[in-house]
Protein backbone atom coordinates (compact mmCIF):
# COMPACT_ATOMS: atom_id res chain seq x y z
CA UNK A 1 0.00 0.00 0.00
CA UNK A 2 2.93 2.24 0.86
CA UNK A 3 4.51 1.44 -2.50
CA UNK A 4 1.20 2.12 -4.25
CA UNK A 5 1.23 5.64 -2.94
CA UNK A 6 4.70 6.37 -4.24
CA UNK A 7 4.02 4.94 -7.69
CA UNK A 8 0.46 6.07 -8.26
CA UNK A 9 1.10 9.79 -7.81
CA UNK A 10 1.18 11.86 -10.95
CA UNK A 11 3.63 14.63 -11.77
CA UNK A 12 1.93 17.98 -12.20
CA UNK A 13 2.78 21.67 -12.34
CA UNK A 14 0.90 23.69 -9.77
CA UNK A 15 0.68 27.34 -8.76
CA UNK A 16 2.04 28.28 -5.37
CA UNK A 17 1.71 31.74 -3.78
CA UNK A 18 5.10 32.84 -2.46
CA UNK A 19 5.16 35.49 0.26
CA UNK A 20 8.00 37.97 -0.25
CA UNK A 21 9.09 39.44 3.09
CA UNK A 22 9.49 43.14 3.70
CA UNK A 23 12.98 44.60 4.08
CA UNK A 24 12.72 44.60 7.86
CA UNK A 25 11.54 40.99 7.80
CA UNK A 26 8.44 41.79 9.84
CA UNK A 27 5.77 41.29 7.24
CA UNK A 28 4.91 40.45 3.67
CA UNK A 29 5.75 42.98 0.96
CA UNK A 30 3.97 41.13 -1.82
CA UNK A 31 2.82 37.71 -2.89
CA UNK A 32 3.89 36.28 -6.22
CA UNK A 33 2.59 33.10 -7.78
CA UNK A 34 5.02 30.62 -9.27
CA UNK A 35 4.52 27.31 -11.03
CA UNK A 36 6.27 24.43 -9.29
CA UNK A 37 6.55 20.72 -10.00
CA UNK A 38 4.57 18.57 -7.58
CA UNK A 39 3.12 15.11 -7.10
CA UNK A 40 -0.62 14.64 -6.88
CA UNK A 41 -2.25 11.62 -5.31
CA UNK A 42 -5.25 10.74 -7.50
CA UNK A 43 -6.91 8.92 -4.60
CA UNK A 44 -7.44 11.92 -2.31
CA UNK A 45 -6.21 14.83 -4.46
CA UNK A 46 -3.47 15.78 -2.00
CA UNK A 47 -0.51 17.58 -3.54
CA UNK A 48 3.06 17.11 -2.36
CA UNK A 49 5.84 19.60 -3.08
CA UNK A 50 9.06 17.97 -4.19
CA UNK A 51 12.56 19.12 -3.29
CA UNK A 52 12.78 20.79 -6.68
CA UNK A 53 9.61 22.72 -5.91
CA UNK A 54 10.98 23.76 -2.53
CA UNK A 55 14.16 24.99 -4.19
CA UNK A 56 12.15 27.00 -6.71
CA UNK A 57 10.15 28.61 -3.90
CA UNK A 58 13.35 29.64 -2.11
CA UNK A 59 14.97 30.87 -5.34
CA UNK A 60 11.90 32.96 -6.06
CA UNK A 61 12.09 34.59 -2.66
CA UNK A 62 15.82 35.14 -3.02
CA UNK A 63 15.41 36.75 -6.43
CA UNK A 64 12.72 39.12 -5.22
CA UNK A 65 14.84 39.98 -2.17
CA UNK A 66 17.84 40.75 -4.40
CA UNK A 67 19.94 37.90 -3.01
CA UNK A 68 22.50 36.19 -5.23
CA UNK A 69 21.33 32.69 -6.09
CA UNK A 70 23.36 29.57 -5.24
CA UNK A 71 24.57 29.13 -8.82
CA UNK A 72 25.67 32.79 -8.89
CA UNK A 73 27.64 32.26 -5.69
CA UNK A 74 29.40 29.30 -7.30
CA UNK A 75 30.13 31.38 -10.42
CA UNK A 76 31.48 34.17 -8.25
CA UNK A 77 33.80 31.84 -6.37
CA UNK A 78 35.00 30.16 -9.56
CA UNK A 79 35.56 33.54 -11.21
CA UNK A 80 38.17 34.26 -8.52
CA UNK A 81 39.53 30.69 -8.64
CA UNK A 82 38.80 30.13 -4.96
CA UNK A 83 37.91 26.93 -3.19
CA UNK A 84 34.91 26.90 -0.86
CA UNK A 85 37.29 26.81 2.07
CA UNK A 86 39.29 29.80 0.75
CA UNK A 87 36.23 31.93 0.14
CA UNK A 88 34.92 31.09 3.62
CA UNK A 89 38.18 32.21 5.16
CA UNK A 90 38.24 35.39 3.08
CA UNK A 91 34.74 36.37 4.21
CA UNK A 92 35.44 35.15 7.76
CA UNK A 93 32.60 32.66 7.63
CA UNK A 94 32.19 29.36 9.40
CA UNK A 95 33.76 26.45 7.57
CA UNK A 96 30.54 25.06 6.10
CA UNK A 97 28.55 28.26 5.71
CA UNK A 98 29.57 29.01 2.14
CA UNK A 99 29.01 25.39 1.18
CA UNK A 100 25.46 25.60 2.51
CA UNK A 101 24.86 28.82 0.57
CA UNK A 102 26.21 27.37 -2.63
CA UNK A 103 24.02 24.30 -2.32
CA UNK A 104 20.96 26.39 -1.47
CA UNK A 105 20.69 24.56 1.83
CA UNK A 106 20.76 27.98 3.51
CA UNK A 107 20.73 31.56 2.21
CA UNK A 108 23.00 34.44 3.03
CA UNK A 109 21.66 37.36 5.07
CA UNK A 110 20.64 40.52 3.29
CA UNK A 111 23.50 42.47 4.88
CA UNK A 112 26.17 40.00 3.82
CA UNK A 113 24.57 39.86 0.40
CA UNK A 114 25.51 43.53 -0.02
CA UNK A 115 29.17 42.58 0.22
CA UNK A 116 28.70 39.69 -2.19
CA UNK A 117 26.86 41.95 -4.65
CA UNK A 118 29.75 44.41 -4.52
CA UNK A 119 32.08 41.54 -5.44
CA UNK A 120 29.68 40.32 -8.12
CA UNK A 121 29.41 43.80 -9.63
CA UNK A 122 33.17 44.28 -9.59
CA UNK A 123 33.05 47.19 -7.11
CA UNK A 124 35.50 45.41 -4.84
CA UNK A 125 37.80 42.51 -5.53
CA UNK A 126 39.44 39.64 -3.72
CA UNK A 127 42.72 41.54 -3.39
CA UNK A 128 40.89 44.25 -1.49
CA UNK A 129 39.29 41.73 0.88
CA UNK A 130 42.68 40.09 1.41
CA UNK A 131 44.22 43.47 2.23
CA UNK A 132 41.62 43.98 4.93
CA UNK A 133 42.72 40.78 6.58
CA UNK A 134 46.37 41.78 6.73
CA UNK A 135 46.37 45.57 7.20
CA UNK A 136 43.63 45.97 9.79
CA UNK A 137 44.40 43.86 12.82
CA UNK A 138 41.86 44.36 15.60
CA UNK A 139 42.61 47.35 17.85
CA UNK A 140 42.62 46.51 21.54
CA UNK A 141 40.91 48.94 23.95
CA UNK A 142 44.32 49.80 25.41
CA UNK A 143 45.65 50.88 22.03
CA UNK A 144 42.42 52.72 21.34
CA UNK A 145 42.82 54.73 24.55
CA UNK A 146 46.34 55.75 23.54
CA UNK A 147 45.11 56.83 20.12
CA UNK A 148 42.03 58.72 21.24
CA UNK A 149 42.89 59.82 24.74
CA UNK A 150 39.63 58.23 25.93
CA UNK A 151 39.34 55.70 28.69
CA UNK A 152 38.66 52.23 27.27
CA UNK A 153 35.33 50.61 27.95
CA UNK A 154 35.56 47.58 30.22
CA UNK A 155 35.94 44.41 28.15
CA UNK A 156 37.26 40.92 28.48
CA UNK A 157 40.40 41.76 26.52
CA UNK A 158 43.55 40.65 28.33
CA UNK A 159 45.21 43.90 29.41
CA UNK A 160 49.01 44.23 29.49
CA UNK A 161 50.63 44.77 32.88
CA UNK A 162 51.27 48.36 34.00
CA UNK A 163 54.37 49.86 32.38
CA UNK A 164 54.31 47.36 29.56
CA UNK A 165 52.40 49.59 27.13
CA UNK A 166 54.26 50.32 23.91
CA UNK A 167 54.96 53.94 22.92
CA UNK A 168 52.27 55.56 20.81
CA UNK A 169 54.61 55.77 17.83
CA UNK A 170 54.79 51.98 17.71
CA UNK A 171 51.04 51.57 17.86
CA UNK A 172 50.41 54.01 15.01
CA UNK A 173 53.27 53.58 12.56
CA UNK A 174 51.75 55.91 9.99
CA UNK A 175 51.07 58.78 12.45
CA UNK A 176 52.57 62.11 11.29
Amino acid sequence: MNDDFFTRRESILTDFPVAIPTLDGKGVAETVTVKVPALRDPVDGEIYLTEEALRILDDTKARYMGLLLPRQLRELRQQFSLTQSEVSELLQLGEKTWTRWESGRERQSRSLNLLLKALWDGRIDVAYLRSLRTSNPPISPASYSLLSGKRPAPTNYPMPPAGAMPPVAEVVPFAA
Binding site: F6, P17, Y48, L49, L57
Partner: protein, 115 residues
Protein backbone atom coordinates in the same frame (compact mmCIF):
# COMPACT_ATOMS: atom_id res chain seq x y z
CA UNK B 1 -0.88 11.03 26.41
CA UNK B 2 2.20 12.31 24.59
CA UNK B 3 5.29 10.18 24.97
CA UNK B 4 8.90 10.69 24.12
CA UNK B 5 9.32 10.38 20.36
CA UNK B 6 11.51 7.30 19.72
CA UNK B 7 15.15 8.22 19.30
CA UNK B 8 15.72 6.05 16.20
CA UNK B 9 12.87 7.74 14.38
CA UNK B 10 13.95 11.20 15.47
CA UNK B 11 17.53 10.65 14.39
CA UNK B 12 16.52 9.30 10.98
CA UNK B 13 14.12 12.19 10.35
CA UNK B 14 16.54 14.88 11.53
CA UNK B 15 19.37 13.48 9.39
CA UNK B 16 17.22 13.72 6.27
CA UNK B 17 15.76 17.11 7.14
CA UNK B 18 19.28 18.45 7.64
CA UNK B 19 20.54 16.81 4.45
CA UNK B 20 23.03 14.66 6.33
CA UNK B 21 21.61 11.34 5.16
CA UNK B 22 20.40 10.06 1.81
CA UNK B 23 16.70 10.49 1.34
CA UNK B 24 14.36 13.20 0.27
CA UNK B 25 11.91 15.60 1.81
CA UNK B 26 8.42 16.33 0.58
CA UNK B 27 6.10 18.91 2.04
CA UNK B 28 2.37 18.60 1.65
CA UNK B 29 1.10 21.59 -0.31
CA UNK B 30 -1.23 22.79 2.42
CA UNK B 31 1.46 22.35 5.08
CA UNK B 32 3.62 24.83 3.18
CA UNK B 33 0.72 27.27 2.97
CA UNK B 34 0.06 26.80 6.69
CA UNK B 35 3.71 27.46 7.54
CA UNK B 36 3.71 30.61 5.44
CA UNK B 37 0.56 31.82 7.18
CA UNK B 38 2.03 31.12 10.61
CA UNK B 39 5.41 32.70 9.82
CA UNK B 40 4.74 35.25 7.07
CA UNK B 41 8.10 36.85 7.81
CA UNK B 42 9.92 33.53 7.57
CA UNK B 43 12.18 33.94 4.59
CA UNK B 44 12.78 30.49 3.27
CA UNK B 45 11.39 26.99 3.13
CA UNK B 46 14.52 25.51 4.68
CA UNK B 47 13.62 27.34 7.87
CA UNK B 48 10.63 25.02 8.19
CA UNK B 49 12.95 22.02 7.99
CA UNK B 50 15.37 23.59 10.45
CA UNK B 51 12.60 24.35 12.95
CA UNK B 52 11.31 20.76 12.81
CA UNK B 53 14.83 19.33 12.95
CA UNK B 54 15.74 21.50 15.93
CA UNK B 55 12.76 20.26 17.93
CA UNK B 56 13.16 16.63 16.93
CA UNK B 57 16.86 16.71 17.80
CA UNK B 58 15.88 17.22 21.43
CA UNK B 59 16.01 14.17 23.65
CA UNK B 60 12.85 15.38 25.42
CA UNK B 61 10.79 15.80 22.22
CA UNK B 62 7.33 14.43 22.89
CA UNK B 63 4.66 13.44 20.43
CA UNK B 64 2.03 10.89 19.55
CA UNK B 65 2.01 8.28 16.80
CA UNK B 66 -0.58 8.72 14.06
CA UNK B 67 -1.87 5.57 12.48
CA UNK B 68 -4.43 6.67 9.91
CA UNK B 69 -2.21 8.52 7.46
CA UNK B 70 -1.73 8.08 3.74
CA UNK B 71 0.83 6.75 3.04
CA UNK B 72 1.00 4.55 6.15
CA UNK B 73 4.57 5.12 7.28
CA UNK B 74 5.73 5.88 10.79
CA UNK B 75 4.07 9.19 11.53
CA UNK B 76 4.24 11.38 14.63
CA UNK B 77 2.40 14.52 15.59
CA UNK B 78 3.79 16.97 18.09
CA UNK B 79 3.49 20.54 19.30
CA UNK B 80 6.54 22.72 19.78
CA UNK B 81 7.52 26.35 20.11
CA UNK B 82 9.35 28.19 17.36
CA UNK B 83 10.11 31.92 17.39
CA UNK B 84 7.66 32.46 20.22
CA UNK B 85 4.81 30.69 18.45
CA UNK B 86 3.34 27.24 18.97
CA UNK B 87 3.48 24.93 15.99
CA UNK B 88 1.53 21.73 15.44
CA UNK B 89 3.65 19.45 13.31
CA UNK B 90 3.00 16.10 11.72
CA UNK B 91 5.84 14.26 10.04
CA UNK B 92 6.12 10.83 8.47
CA UNK B 93 9.08 8.59 7.77
CA UNK B 94 8.47 6.34 4.79
CA UNK B 95 10.60 3.78 3.06
CA UNK B 96 9.49 2.84 -0.41
CA UNK B 97 12.76 2.40 -2.34
CA UNK B 98 14.42 5.45 -0.79
CA UNK B 99 13.74 7.05 2.56
CA UNK B 100 11.24 9.88 2.34
CA UNK B 101 10.29 12.34 5.05
CA UNK B 102 6.89 13.91 4.47
CA UNK B 103 5.87 17.03 6.36
CA UNK B 104 2.10 16.69 6.55
CA UNK B 105 1.27 19.62 8.83
CA UNK B 106 2.92 22.78 10.07
CA UNK B 107 0.33 25.13 11.54
CA UNK B 108 -0.82 26.85 14.68
CA UNK B 109 -2.44 24.31 17.02
CA UNK B 110 -6.16 24.25 16.31
CA UNK B 111 -8.95 23.46 18.72
CA UNK B 112 -8.50 19.81 19.57
CA UNK B 113 -4.84 19.72 18.61
CA UNK B 114 -3.73 18.80 22.09
CA UNK B 115 -1.31 16.04 22.80
Amino acid sequence: MPNLVPEDWRKAVVAILKGRAPGRVEVRYRAMLEWQALFPESYFEYQLRDAFAKYLARDDATGRPVTDMTPPGIVYEFIFEHCGRLVYGKVGLHQPEKTVVIVFSAHRPLKGDTL
